[in-house]
Amino acid sequence: MSAGVELDHITVRFGQFTAVDDATLDIRGGEFFSFLGPSGCGKTTILRTVSGFLDPSQGKVRIGGQDMAGIGPNKRPTALIFQNLALFPLMTVADNITYGLRVRGVSKEERRKRAGELLDLIALPGQGDKLVSELSGGQKQRVAIARALAVQPKVLLLDEPLSALDLKLRQHMRNELRAIQQQVGITFIYITHDQGEALTMSDRIAVMSDGVIQQVADGKTVYDHPDTPFVASFVGENNPFAGKVVSADGEHAAIETAHGVLRGRNDRKLKAGDRAILFVRPESFRLGAGASDATIVSETLSSAFEGNATHVFLKGSTKKDITVTVARHGSHRIPAQGEAAAIHFDPSMGVVLPEGKMARE
């Protein structure tokens, strides 16, 4: 059984500080949904509001259509996997897993049976009598998931649960989480600052910054059609070219930048005179000159060979260099350091967005 989660104009304030600003969102039942954003963007606040640890200052949370106002965390059909897992160190693995059943008054025998089933599900058969301190990081992770699933929640909330693991294990756990989600079929709401996690696992992603939801879409759309400069610069590598729109039609806009007039898609329907930023991804550039409104000429600073591709860095108009990723196939000569190089791109691979805040600056 799964349930959808609706956020209806949620605002959360801590004193003067607004952690979440008017978030409205509809998460479908059975969906793997991620909130992606840098730390402090408000994603954890949203999670805590859904799980009932925080009351929103304004707005409503509905789970399966039911308003959650006044319903405490222990009465909601949600289960939360904490960032530090919050396993109970003084209980055995089996007692941890069946704690939710214990407080519901389930008999001891029934609990033992359920513990056995869940231990099988997480591939830790017969390890119920161990202490939590005897488990590896990955095993703890799985115990935390089993503990949450034991209460048969309609929505599972995950607060950066993989952040404590090392890289290799993290990649393995991504596949495992996705598999578990498909197996149990309930709604997963996943919080992360790691775009790789969000892109690989999620059906849809909400990108957040400064308490505001910037965009809600599937991973491919977020990457290819970002709505705001923040999304464009936060998800994946991107080269920004700021300027003023000189001409625009329904499909494309041309903007005057430090590198001349350049053209890109006009997804946000900008008009001439608007201040704007053109984003072109490193892999969208090709070496050599092309159409005049899609060509940049600049000095080569350096290049880095990375096996399947080579990154070439050209001098940009701001402090940030222009990054060009040259795929291995193709017979391009990599420009030498100090040499003036021309690069071009397909204007349908560049996007012109209204001026706004960018990530990591």
Binding site: V12, R13, F14, G15, F53, L54, D55, P56, S57
Partner: protein, 334 residues
């Protein structure tokens, strides 16, 4: 009795003020993470917690103190006349500390006893600091973990022997027939036994001996958290050992020093066992005077007044220490 009503009203008014302050604060800063006390603990447990703490803070701490203060402003009366027309508020008990009501002379005996107690306690505190600092430093910075644990046990075990027996053991050593006099006479240093107890050597040693542990643990805790690299760095820079202590260790360990000194002073100034069993026959210790007012003169109001004078002196000393070391009370008691 109206004073009883007054005593009960004071804490209630204070609690009420805090209640309203908390309410006002809650209204001003809305914080969605903050759950109400009863919401967080459940109603039943919340009530039990508050009842327990209220019983403690009111009936075991605040009200007895206030009662003692009120008692000290009463005249000494036989039980039948209490609450009668002669039971008026008076500062006679405090006056009697300065001017002896019997002969109207300045009460030099009691004033001297007070000054002697305070000065002795300060000296004992200083001596204990000097004795304990090197060991605390050794334990915290130089000793291996195993050695430290052994020393720790060796320190704690003697303190499970109570104060009276410890005083008794010192008396056996220092008495005129005691081991030390035997040794001194055996070595021919003195021909007649030295009466260590009547010249107060017993008292000084007893006070210092009783509160060694109280000094050493706060010092150890404070020095222990000092990064060893800081001392190494100072040594690399060529600082001599005494400069390292003066400029690095002691400033860092300030809260621990303040804590140890405060505790030793308080315990010494309020001690009863050492002066009773190790003090000379003519030595008047201030707490012993208070004790006698209760058990021999049956003058409770005057005893209460003297106790309050002692308490005030102790509070003044604590505040002075805190000011001197520039630490807060919270850092001192841990």
């Amino acid at each position: 009795m109206s004073s009883r009503l007054f005593v009960f009203l004071v804490p209630l008014v204070v609690i009420a003020i805090f209640w309203f302050m908390a309410r006002a604060e809650k209204g001003k800063h809305h914080d969605p993470t903050h759950k109400g006390f009863f919401e967080r603990n459940g109603t039943a447990l919340g009530i039990v917690f508050i009842a327990l703490v209220a019983f403690w803070t009111l009936f075991l701490v605040t009200l007895p103190y206030l009662y003692m203060v009120v008692e000290s402003f009463h005249p000494k009366l036989p039980p039948a006349q209490r609450g009668g027309p002669t039971d008026v508020l008076t500062i006679a008990q405090y006056k009697s500390f300065f001017i002896n009501p019997v002969d109207n002379e300045i009460n030099t005996t009691h004033i001297w006893a007070f000054v002697f107690s305070i000065i002795t306690s300060v000296l004992v505190t200083a001596v204990n600091f000097a004795i304990c600092y090197p060991l605390a430093y050794y334990m915290a910075q130089a000793g291996t973990a195993q050695k430290v644990r052994l020393i720790m046990l060796a320190l704690i075990v003697p303190y499970w022997v109570n104060e009276i027996l410890r005083a008794f053991s010192l008396r056996l050593l220092l008495a005129s027939k005691g081991l030390i006099n035997q040794a001194l006479m055996g070595l021919g240093i003195t021909s007649t036994p030295i009466d260590f107890l009547s010249i107060n050597v017993g008292l000084y040693v007893g006070l210092s001996y009783a509160y060694l542990l109280v000094m050493i643990f706060p010092l150890y805790n404070a020095i222990e958290s000092l990064d060893k690299n800081q001392i190494e760095a100072a040594r690399d820079l060529g600082a001599p050992w005494w400069k390292i202590h003066r400029d690095v260790v002691i400033p860092y360990a300030k809260p621990g020093i303040a804590s140890g000194c405060t505790m030793v002073f308080m315990l010494a100034a309020g001690s009863l066992a050492a002066p009773q069993f190790l003090g000379g026959p003519s030595t008047l210790w201030f707490t012993s005077i208070v004790y006698d007012f209760f058990f021999q003169a049956f003058n409770w109001p005057r005893g209460a007044a003297y106790a309050f004078i002692l308490l005030t002196a102790c509070i003044a000393f604590v505040l002075l220490m805190l000011r001197m070391f520039k630490v807060s009370l919270g850092e001192t008691i841990k």
